[in-house]
Subunit: 352 residues, 4 copies
Amino acid sequence: MLTPMNFNSDNVHGVDEAILTALGEANAGTARAYGYDDWTLAAEARLCEVFERDVAAFLVVTGTAANSLALAACCPPYGAVVCHHEAHIVVDECGAPELFSGGARLMGARGAGGKVTPATVAALFATLGRGEHEQRPSVLSISEATELGTVYTPAEVAALAAVARERRLRTHMDGARFANALARLACTPAELTWKSGVDVLSFGATKNGAMGVEAVVFFDAALATDFRYLRKRTGQLVSKNRFLAAQMLAYLADDRWLRNARHANTMADRLAAAFRALPGVRLPLPVDANAVFAIVPRALHERLQAQGARYLVWPGEGPGTDTVGEHEVFIRLLTSFRTSAADVDALVAAAG
Amino acid sequence: MLTPMNFNSDNVHGVDEAILTALGEANAGTARAYGYDDWTLAAEARLCEVFERDVAAFLVVTGTAANSLALAACCPPYGAVVCHHEAHIVVDECGAPELFSGGARLMGARGAGGKVTPATVAALFATLGRGEHEQRPSVLSISEATELGTVYTPAEVAALAAVARERRLRTHMDGARFANALARLACTPAELTWKSGVDVLSFGATKNGAMGVEAVVFFDAALATDFRYLRKRTGQLVSKNRFLAAQMLAYLADDRWLRNARHANTMADRLAAAFRALPGVRLPLPVDANAVFAIVPRALHERLQAQGARYLVWPGEGPGTDTVGEHEVFIRLLTSFRTSAADVDALVAAAG
Amino acid sequence: MLTPMNFNSDNVHGVDEAILTALGEANAGTARAYGYDDWTLAAEARLCEVFERDVAAFLVVTGTAANSLALAACCPPYGAVVCHHEAHIVVDECGAPELFSGGARLMGARGAGGKVTPATVAALFATLGRGEHEQRPSVLSISEATELGTVYTPAEVAALAAVARERRLRTHMDGARFANALARLACTPAELTWKSGVDVLSFGATKNGAMGVEAVVFFDAALATDFRYLRKRTGQLVSKNRFLAAQMLAYLADDRWLRNARHANTMADRLAAAFRALPGVRLPLPVDANAVFAIVPRALHERLQAQGARYLVWPGEGPGTDTVGEHEVFIRLLTSFRTSAADVDALVAAAG
Amino acid sequence: MLTPMNFNSDNVHGVDEAILTALGEANAGTARAYGYDDWTLAAEARLCEVFERDVAAFLVVTGTAANSLALAACCPPYGAVVCHHEAHIVVDECGAPELFSGGARLMGARGAGGKVTPATVAALFATLGRGEHEQRPSVLSISEATELGTVYTPAEVAALAAVARERRLRTHMDGARFANALARLACTPAELTWKSGVDVLSFGATKNGAMGVEAVVFFDAALATDFRYLRKRTGQLVSKNRFLAAQMLAYLADDRWLRNARHANTMADRLAAAFRALPGVRLPLPVDANAVFAIVPRALHERLQAQGARYLVWPGEGPGTDTVGEHEVFIRLLTSFRTSAADVDALVAAAG
């Protein structure tokens, strides 16, 4: 089961040992079920501290659920969610946002490097405006970090959220890799979210060391009034919720989440530096988080595969900043809290 | 956080230590994500062994999801699910079956002790039959054990499934407490399910010692063709699925699931025997599994509460076999794999 | 195609000639499509007059759509609609309320004569109250006239609406036969609706002489803010909407709607008087509108059928006020704006 | 209400007089409700004749409903519909396809002139293929005539349907303007549909002279097994269905549908010929049906508007075959069965 050169995703790795330990510690005695236990209350309080304000936070099990529930809370069934056309919610969630929202449309705006811009969002709005014949844009959703490993600065987030607010849209941030983005930026969690106009965040923990827990964090409590109902009716309310909360508490304790993310990012930098030096290899995108996207010669790709390296041949359209040649492959390599320098070096050696 | 007399539910208890240990063991190395890992394959194979045939089994996180997904796989959006009018899917899942099925109706049949019968199901059918003006019954769902702690024998299951089959309905079994039912009956898992006509089972593990895992087990593989899509679009596909599978494997290893259930049942028997002897207390239902339902004097109820005992005042209609008097309360006490004889004795002492 | 003794439903009859004529008159020139034409504006204004206040009114094509859209506007997908357990929305709309609302539950309260009461509604509420584990009652829906041909007085409506308001529910009135109810009561349309606490009305016209048009009438405009989107996404926005509006205008002109309803009611009275005199026949319910429910000897039923009489053998549970014997049949006979005294007399003669 | 130069849509015109007459004739006597009447049976039989084979045909009220129901019958909720990115189902139906299908995605392929091609459809497929993480393409939907007034030849339809069949997709044709397309092509209704691989057709009548009726026509009866349920639960089953059927019968009688379409097309040709001769005006698309798309100088546009001409400034991306300049406007002019040569000439005079 061990694949030393596995850069396929950050979820191929297991669980941070500290988080496993926390599960064991939470296993003492009885506790109220369905999220009314003390661990859950503590996790909610901790998230308020992390974001320096009152938030309405809800634990769920998967990132797909976190995103789809966050969107469902902001978007009516006749509404639309504006997002990058290759956002995770568009291409990787099999219609969960549509299901949970009761039929809302995802409207994909374009943008290089996985990022939408005020201009591309405005261009999409320009094709709309005919009233009830079309779904009404209700939410802007951005990914932080993006699916192409890039990161919006707080200023970029604020500019997008401002465009959204002008049109009366809410702003959602898919933070499946929020920690990786934050670890790169010189800013606080608050600055990257509500201080920049974000209304609701999918706060990921699973990809960065948890076993399976995400939080939906509302900065505008009015959006969360009935969220408990939404979570329950989508099968995301866990009976033994203390074990979700224990994960989140351990994740946030002692800056573990940021340390894990910083490590993953450093490993991505190490990998990127080595790959940039390989002949015929181009890195068309900045390495802002824990993903390295590379355009590599097909021969190199085949050599790596043959030696057991695992990574993703990116199924989307390309980086948007460069062209993938006929004899080239566009690949994604992900590092995680558990990737070691030796893992990276083994890959680089295989490529050399 | 310790409540020594907590009989509120079987989910107030934590996790079987052996299952926690299994989580730690599964944390080695990398693994394919999203259910294509070796643990998941092993868990699926193990379920085939348990049920003595090929089954199509899928791990999910919550019982609500297991039930709602199982029903969605069998019931078209214009269909109806026939079940007891106080079934868990009716009164405890906030419409998840409706959401996951795309709008199917739950049609509640009556029946004492939480059980429907061929007669009550037929009575419900007799009110139907006007074609497209009404939803078409497509699934019969029964709970094993029932929400009132009773158990269907294989012969009873077979009789109900036969009624369903005659009308071209599928039969679903909500087995959130399947182990408790089985532990009481002198039969095999196969005999209680597919050999009695069950098409799909929600196989519960969480209430009986797991942290959070259930399996949807299809005995008719044709129903499962596209189930992966259903699971994904409902946010129930976990990225680090090996940790669901590890739970299930440990649960099924060495008959742990049956030993746990037998223990819980024995504790329920002990509690029932003591309560039957209390003045003014009646047990209107057989104790077939790990639930004790009692009609108790309000004064006793208040005394127990005052001493910190935790159990449920049953919100439903009553046992159907007895009447709850004005100065009485109808309560449910649940035991679990972790309930000790001392816990029971403490409660009985408090009631004495 | 002529069945002279057809009392099967009020929709077996065609269209009021005056309404057909209005269709022809509306066929001159061009008009804006999708409900922005002058006829539609006039129909909306006319409904304001009829109800003596500003209303937000929307034309749709079917009663099922009117009800389901009205409910969808008031009930969140995790909500529930409380109504009589044999209401049209429960037993005759194949789940359209569930679909249009995104999964809301219909919760049936009991009640003799097709009517719920404050007591039976309160009894239903008493089984609820466990938060997000169950759907939250959000709307009370009553039928006026009811499916059993009875009518709520304004005082009865007000008492029910008060119970609803206390629990923060909205009140919906299914007025598929609103005209028939109103024609019997000594009150105004306003008194029977918003002055008694009704928030939204399905205002039927089709059963009472139109070809196919109903209005969803909101007395609380806040509920209607986005109704145009709901109507469009359910396929109920008609392009040549002037022809819906022309029907509604002709229906409301010169009190045609009330004259038609009064006529139908009078024919029901005539039929009821004659049936009451038949040996072995009982009328277990008041004839408040245009429906006559009768318990008749099976022999009489067979004789009538043999002579070509058409009416409905009621599929529901019975009147709730009397018992249907083994050799008896519970039937419904409906009269309409087009039923003649001769039609009634022919039926009575056949029964004689 | 008369706007002599109204080319805004084909639905601004009223109803063919012969169809109005048919409504009057259908108003005799009683008839079974809900589509079990003789007119409906006759209309279904007539559609079999028109298409030279057994079809399963269902009348509904709006084009949005026809399309959304046809798609819902072919596409699972976790499926996707591949279509032109500016198809009516994408940009003009406010999510009705999503609602009726239970959440299916519309995936827009590109293509000049409103047409997809085997190549652009294949390009879309090339971005897919990752199993349950994405919705599964299940239907190919093409519009005949397209939203840009172009027409697929039977050979083009067959080529697209073949691509669909290879990937196990069904083929749906949005025939809101089917008659206009057919009137231009030298082929039979059968050749343009099932003989070319179409599985289900939305057969429009409203835009071409009916008051409000469309047929969903299944060439593969297996897709229609439960369609009655779908139609009912979406509020599209009309009680007095004979009046839908009477419209359809009159529409199909004496080739009225084709005569009406031919007339509209001829008027479009007349308009196109005159516009092509105007200085600064370009017609970037063939006039295959009853739509004329023109790139006109903004000054001309303003002059026409000032004189009361009505037509649409096309909100979409442009023709795909030409570029709209800064001082130009891309407009759509539609003719109908009722557009007269004088209407066209008045417009041309205003433009001159």
